[in-house]
């Protein structure tokens, strides 16, 4: 297995994806376990949409300090408010808390405005009732279940149930990993983040479908006499699509990265941040899992089918394991010579 960018660019890569899959899957499983443990132990840092309460974003004069704002917050009964200075060009403070019931929305805003030395019109607010989050979460959960069922059906109809299973495991892996990152680093989880999680599922599936589609396509073009084993077939297909995966990941990640760095860190639009972190992590994991989780699982399952098991045995009896280059050659020959009568074997086909 030689790693060379040049080879990749030329399409000469021939990596043994399936061969390393056991070890890689083990690594993935451990990572997922850590993430799931983090979700249960640390929990998620839920935004006000899920917990209720209020958030105020206050652009302030430059000499105003966090303590000034905190004092103003405790005057309106928010002694335990979380006050943050959001990075960015101008000073913007973010206050999160639950004001005393006796205070009206207006009095809270004007107290904060006074402390920041600005007009109350410039303050952005958000207040959410505690029951709202349950509703949002409930709806997202229901949508998720329906989505997964539909996708499972779709993949079963379009491909086969083993592929549906592989794809869903890969999706679960991606979601667990991304949510786990949120739990570990305690990033705030809001409905925007939920959107990002759902997008990740979409991406991951999309990617996986591209891989499966190629495998199916290759499988169809195999001639009946071909002795190729399923892992070989999977390997060739993965090598064929890996550049697509890499390129798509790069072109998908670039805008998201730009959203994260330019949009939220430099220009200080914190609302963009919620999406971008989850998307970034999810995109990368999604591409990885299509190649290293979904397909190896399918390969493992398929290899137990009698036809493929037979192929595997005959290869083992002959004592020749196909090099991936050879497998690719077999496939290419099969693909283009289907219509013509059997030809003499080419040099390099070892069977």
């Amino acid at each position: 297995m030689n790693f060379s960018l040049k080879a990749m660019y030329r399409g000469e890569n021939s990596w043994d994806f399936v061969g390393v899959s056991r070890r890689v899957l083990m690594g993935s499983a451990i990572a997922v376990l850590v993430c799931v443990a983090a979700i249960f132990i640390r929990g998620l840092n839920l935004g006000i949409e899920f917990e209720g309460g209020g958030v105020w974003e206050i652009p302030a004069l430059s000499e105003v300090t966090t303590d000034d704002i905190r004092d103003a917050a405790s005057d309106v009964g928010m002694g335990d408010a979380r006050v943050q200075r959001i990075s960015g060009g101008e000073a913007i403070f973010r206050v999160r808390g639950e004001p005393a019931a006796s205070e009206s929305a207006e009095s809270v805003v004007s107290a904060l405005a006074k402390a920041a030395g600005v007009d109350s019109e410039t303050i952005s607010t958000r207040t959410v009732s505690p029951s709202f989050g349950d509703e949002v979460a409930g709806k997202a959960r229901r949508a998720l279940v329906v989505f997964l069922i539909l996708i499972a059906l779709y993949l079963t109809l379009r491909f086969e149930w083993k592929m549906a299973l592989g794809a869903l495991i890969a999706v679960a892996h991606d979601i667990a990993f991304t949510v786990g990152i949120y739990a570990i680093f305690q990033f705030e989880t809001s409905p925007a983040t939920v959107v990002a999680f759902l997008t990740i599922m979409g991406y991951s599936l999309y990617d996986t479908i591209v891989v499966f589609d190629r495998v199916k396509d290759n499988e169809r073009s195999l001639s009946a006499k071909s002795r190729m084993t399923y892992p070989d077939l999977a390997n060739v297909s993965l090598n064929q699509v890996v550049m697509r995966s890499v390129n798509t990941s790069i072109t998908s990640v670039l805008p998201v990265l730009s959203l994260l760095i330019v949009g939220s860190f430099i220009l200080g639009a914190s609302s963009l941040q919620e999406f971008a972190i989850a998307l970034l992590v999810g995109l990368l994991v999604g591409s990885y899992s299509s190649l290293f989780v979904a397909m190896p699982i399918v390969s493992e399952l398929k290899n137990r089918e009698s036809h493929w098991a037979e192929q595997q045995r005959s290869v083992e009896v002959l004592g020749t394991s196909n090099a991936i280059e050879d497998a690719a050659a077999v496939l290419a020959a099969d693909r283009y010579d289907r219509s013509s009568p059997p030809r003499p074997r080419k040099k390099g086909r070892k069977r």
Binding site: Y9, R10, G11, E12, E57, P59, A105, V109, T122, I123, S124, R126, T127, V128, S129, S131, F132, E135, V136, K139, A140, A143, V146, F147, L150, I151, R158, P191, A192, V194, V195, T199, M201, G202, Y206, V210, D213, R244, N247, T251, S252, V253, L254, P255, V256, L257, S258, L259, G263, L267, A269, S271, L272, F275, L283, E325, A329, A332, Y336, G348
Partner: protein, 467 residues
């Protein structure tokens, strides 16, 4: 090159240019959501269980109030058991929030005077009478808005000037004699003509009779949330808790009046699930950040595609530009005709979709490169690989569409806005891939590349598979 390819290419370009030109010349621009231009967003939920009819009526009332505030592009939608109200760009945010969440009340107010809202002389006279010289602008020409009582001053115990539901008649009304809670039941029936039966509880019967005695022979206005729904004349002094409203109703009018009365009996109270006010500066900041980030991202993607795929990268950029133009037209059209705003979530969906759009190009190009490496001529590779590539694109896009559809149907608010734009961009992607990218790639392959695959970023033909 087959003629059909050229035709399809030209048609797409003409179609895209025409729709963009149409949208631009009509002056349509995308309506920006609350988070992108500042404003108010409120999510309301009925505090108690309500019937569908009542809920719709309550939403109608919110619509009327929002119209009264005068917001340019309000968006009020019922999403399941919630009402989502978006008022981008609204000026007095706190007042808007207060007003929207108020419970609508039904009131019976004796009519003191009726007037023609289009007659300036009558308006001046009424303003004078109502102000009773309070502010000094007597003598100035009074406009309708000077005369009418604004919603925040529409108190039970105040004298008010309001319009009828058609807007054709104005009413000067006395303080309310009773409110809707005392109504027990209201129903429209046909007895030679359409009438509405109203029954009151004990307290209501007493109050109604008092009012009838004091206003016998005069009109009493039935006012729901600042709109005079009907103004029947009182023809008896004693009703004993049963009133019949008759007039020249048709069936729909009678049923509507009965509904108004029933609603008054059990007004829908709303809880504010989510209230968000965004200052104009913050909204503009987010918008600016989003646009700059989007452009930087696009530039990076374009540069990468050019570097990697050379001429085909240029095709990818053209495809993106075409998709972008179509998307702009659609978003502007949705804003203009449906009042549908481009939200922050939607905008993010669009930025995210850049990846999906470019992927369709990549899937196709990688296929072409693969075939060329196997020794196939560039032009035949471009022709031949599309079928397989497009099949992949369809199946993968279909998964995205399923996701977008489910999310749109089953969620609300942020998630829904995102799903909408994800779905739209996916459909555009399919369209552009088939009718634009494919013919353009084939054209480029034939005319510009010839047999020099280096121009497509395929560096070495000899590095084929069979070695």
């Amino acid at each position: 090159m087959r003629r059909s390819h050229l035709v399809s290419l030209i048609l797409v370009v003409v179609f895209t240019a025409a729709s963009l030109a149409g949208v631009l010349s009509a002056g349509w621009t995308p309506v920006l959501g609350v988070q992108l231009q500042g404003g108010v967003e409120v999510v309301l939920r009925p505090a108690d269980e309500v019937s569908d009819e009542q809920f719709e009526r309550a939403i109608e009332i919110i619509r009327n109030r929002v119209d009264a505030i005068g917001v340019a592009e309000p968006d009020i939608t019922r999403q399941g058991t919630q009402v989502v109200i978006q008022l981008p760009g609204v000026k007095d945010k706190q007042r808007a929030v207060d007003l929207i969440g108020q419970t609508a009340e039904l009131r019976f107010r004796p009519v003191l005077q009726m007037f023609d809202p289009t007659d300036p002389e009558q308006l001046s006279a009424i303003e004078e009478a109502m102000d009773q010289g309070q502010d000094g602008d007597i003598g100035n020409e009074a406009s309708l808005s000077d005369v009418l009582t604004p919603p925040q001053e529409d108190d039970v115990s105040a004298m008010v000037a309001l319009l009828g539901s058609s807007g054709q008649t104005g009413f000067v009304l006395a303080p309310a004699a009773l409110t809707g809670e005392v109504i027990e039941e209201a129903a429209a029936t046909f007895q030679g003509q359409w009438i509405v039966n109203v029954s009151f509880n004990d307290e209501g019967a007493l109050l109604f009779d008092q009012m009838a005695a004091a206003n016998y022979g005069r009109q009493v206005a039935i006012v729901l949330d600042g709109v005079v729904e009907s103004a029947p004349t009182i023809n008896a002094e004693e009703f004993n808790g049963q009133a019949v409203i008759s007039g020249s109703f048709d069936e729909a009018e009678a049923k509507n009046l009965a509904l108004v009365l029933k609603f008054g009996a059990l007004p829908v109270e709303f809880e504010r699930d989510d209230v968000r006010t965004v200052s104009a500066t913050l909204g503009e900041g987010t918008l600016r950040a989003g646009i700059i980030a989007g452009l930087v991202g696009l530039a990076l993607v374009g540069a990468y595609m050019l570097l990697y795929y050379r001429l085909l990268g240029l095709v990818a950029i053209c495809s993106l530009a075409t998709s972008g133009a179509i998307l702009w037209s659609i978003v502007a059209w949705l804003g203009e005709s449906r009042g549908l705003a481009l939200t922050l979530a939607g905008a993010t969906g669009i930025v995210v979709s850049i990846g999906v759009q470019v992927d369709s190009n990549i899937v196709y190009y990688e296929r072409i490169k693969e075939e060329v490496r196997r020794g196939r001529a560039v032009r035949s590779a471009a022709d031949g690989s599309f079928r397989a590539a497009f099949s992949t694109i369809i199946w993968a896009d279909l998964a995205s569409l399923i996701g977008a559809g489910v999310l749109y149907q089953l969620t609300t608010g942020t998630v829904r806005g995102f799903a909408l734009y994800l779905g739209i961009t996916t459909l555009i992607d399919l369209f552009v891939s088939f009718f634009f990218m494919r013919p353009l790639v084939i054209l480029v392959a034939r005319r510009l590349v010839g047999e020099r695959p280096g121009r497509l970023g395929v560096s070495n033909m000899a590095g084929g598979v069979i070695r």
